[in-house]
Amino acid sequence: MFLTLAWQSLLSRKVTTFLTISALLVSVSLLFAIEHIRLQTQDNFKRTVAGIDLVVAARSSQINVLLSSVFRIGANPNAVSWDTYQAVSNKEKVLWSIPISLGDSYQGYPVVGTNLDYFKHYQFGKQQALSLESGRVFASPSEAVIGANVARSLDLKVGQSIIISHGGGKVSFSHHEHHPVLISGILVATGTPVDKSVHVPLIAIEQMHKPTAPTSLGSSFTKPEVIETSESDDEDVKDAHEEHDEHEKHHQTSVELPEIAPDTFDLIGKPTQISAFMIKAESPFAILTLQRDLNRYESEAISAIMPQVALAELWQTIGAVETVMQLIAFLVLCASLIGLATMLLASMHERRHEISVLRAIGASPWFIATLIQAEAMLISTLALIGAYIAVTLAIMTLGGWLLEEYGVYVSANIYSTSILLKALIVMALTFVVAIIPAFSAYRNAKYLFK
């Protein structure tokens, strides 16, 4: 009965109630969205580096090494020599190592030159290994394994061939047209940068950048049928590559994936340098000594970083920005809560008669004050539910775009203890702010007949 009364009272002032709920809904949505994206970003980053003990790259700051090699954000212009990689990966304490060669891209997606150890050893999240959604891992120098996200957003299938561009960015003017690659496999989505990467054998990177004629490469390393499709594609591309990107994708005819026995081709070649490599130490205890050894490596200036430590430093840097964002969201929330109190306070005059009726039938001034509190709580509860739904819907709609643009996988399930805590804070603040109109109602009720 009590809630019915509060609810009916709000319904009798539909427009002001609606506007107040809307204002609160917007600010709570902001609060929820910022909190959720913050948590999800942290989670994403942690997922990505979960299985890696050390990342080694040319000497640079640990954040730079982490971002450029693992997250493929920005670039480390310096490289590590192949000899160093070989030497380090043969160390006793190293369980496995994965070389990474970066710098090229396909339609804005980074191309990662690596070896088969990548698919064998790389782990994300809670020790989950990479797995293939379709196709198989690359087995020849002109094959590529693409991340789930690349496949989905560019509508690529196993058997299609693609032309990799030189350098990063969506618009590139230099393409490795002489070395098309065939998509041999598509990885299952991981929620890490792997999803938006194109993986090719190290040798492919080497070949692409060699100033040699395409024919000689084709005959020496790739199967004839693969070359055929590639050449026909090449012609399309030469006409007007930029404009026809969309068409090209649909015109590409998939070919049967050639059966290639393992070890048929050399997938590594003779690289002189790579961008970085990831290491799993033999035991957790070995990580620190290994890191110290590598940071003192004599023949080359390299940095070995612990991704988790680098992440912590990154959060410290980003932390200030997060705090500012949260503060803004909090202030916006305060503004709308004050609006809520104002609305209830302003309604007090027109409700004098309602209050006198309630008093006449035996309601105490406390009852009236509690009624006002209940109305405030109802408004906030509705705004919280609305914001929860709004943010969920927004993420369901924009989640793909976020993944696309920023490589951040944001779950549409926004429930977390942190969000729950935020909701409780909103309710508590509502209670505090509504004390003002509730007190006014109390006084009104008490002295109404004087």
Binding site: M1, Q8, V357, I361, F449
Partner: protein
């Protein structure tokens, strides 16, 4: 014999801090009633010009206004043989909900609630439980010439005449021993007024409740057991024409 209302040596002036905003005249004592009573089961018609303290008296009787005893305020008010000024505020609210039925000039109902919800809410306060007897509601409404078809209407969808009858229905629903009614016909036309008065008196009698009816319209006084002018019993009413405060 027990009485519905006993007023003994009552002296009332509004508290000082509230007087600041009032006119000079109103700062004087509003009520000074040496003695007055209404017997149980009887009906009384109380009349008097505006500003005589009619509403003040009603608010004191129903407990919405406190008689805080001090130099200016003293005396005793007994309603249904209980001393009102000895009760705590919470007890006054409970007493009003349970034992009294109060009806104002107009706007007696909560406009955004349905007729049924208005009466249910009142019943909630008087009985303390959410149990509600729909048959009883029908009975009470029928007695007041109201059909059950209006129970789901919002109170503000009804005509003023209907609203006042629903207000009586609400006040009678919990079978109060005393009904306090303040100029309920002021917004009604002559025909509705006559009908309303007849229904009010017959229902009160049927219930055996006492009735204190306040109006300045002497034509309505005919069927009451007792008819009294407030200036006759209130010694403080000499300057009542000067003040409009405290009334209405």
């Amino acid at each position: 014999m027990s009485t519905a209302i006993t007023i003994d040596n009552l002296n009332f002036a509004y508290p000082k801090n509230r007087q600041v905003q009032r006119s000079k005249a109103a700062r004087n004592v509003i009520l000074n009633i040496p003695s007055w009573q209404l017997d149980m089961g009887k009906t009384a018609f109380l009349h008097g010009p505006s500003g005589c303290g009619k509403s003040t008296l009603l608010n004191l009787l129903s407990g919405t206004l406190s008689l805080s005893v001090n130099a200016a305020n003293h005396g005793e008010i007994r309603v249904l043989d209980k001393s009102i000024n000895a009760m705590s505020n919470a007890n006054k609210d409970a007493f009003r909900a349970k034992e009294l039925g109060v009806v104002f000039q107009q706007l007696n109902l909560i406009g955004y609630l349905s007729v049924a919800d208005n009466i249910k809410l009142s019943n909630r306060f008087s009985s303390g439980s959410s149990e509600f007897n729909m048959d009883k509601l029908e009975q009470v409404l029928t007695n007041l010439n109201l059909s059950m078809s209006i129970v789901n209407y919002k109170a503000n969808q009804l005509s003023v005449g209907q609203q006042q009858r629903v207000a009586i229905a609400r006040a009678l629903f919990h079978s109060p021993k005393l009904l306090i009614v303040d100029e309920p016909t002021s917004a009604l036309d002559a025909q509705s007024t006559a009908k309303f008065m007849q229904l009010l008196l017959s229902n009160t009698q049927q219930l055996g409740a006492s009735l204190l009816f306040v109006s300045h319209d002497m034509r309505l006084a005919t069927d009451f057991d007792k008819c009294v002018g407030l200036p006759e019993i209130n010694k403080a009413s000499l300057n009542c024409e000067l003040s409009q405060e405290g009334d209405s």
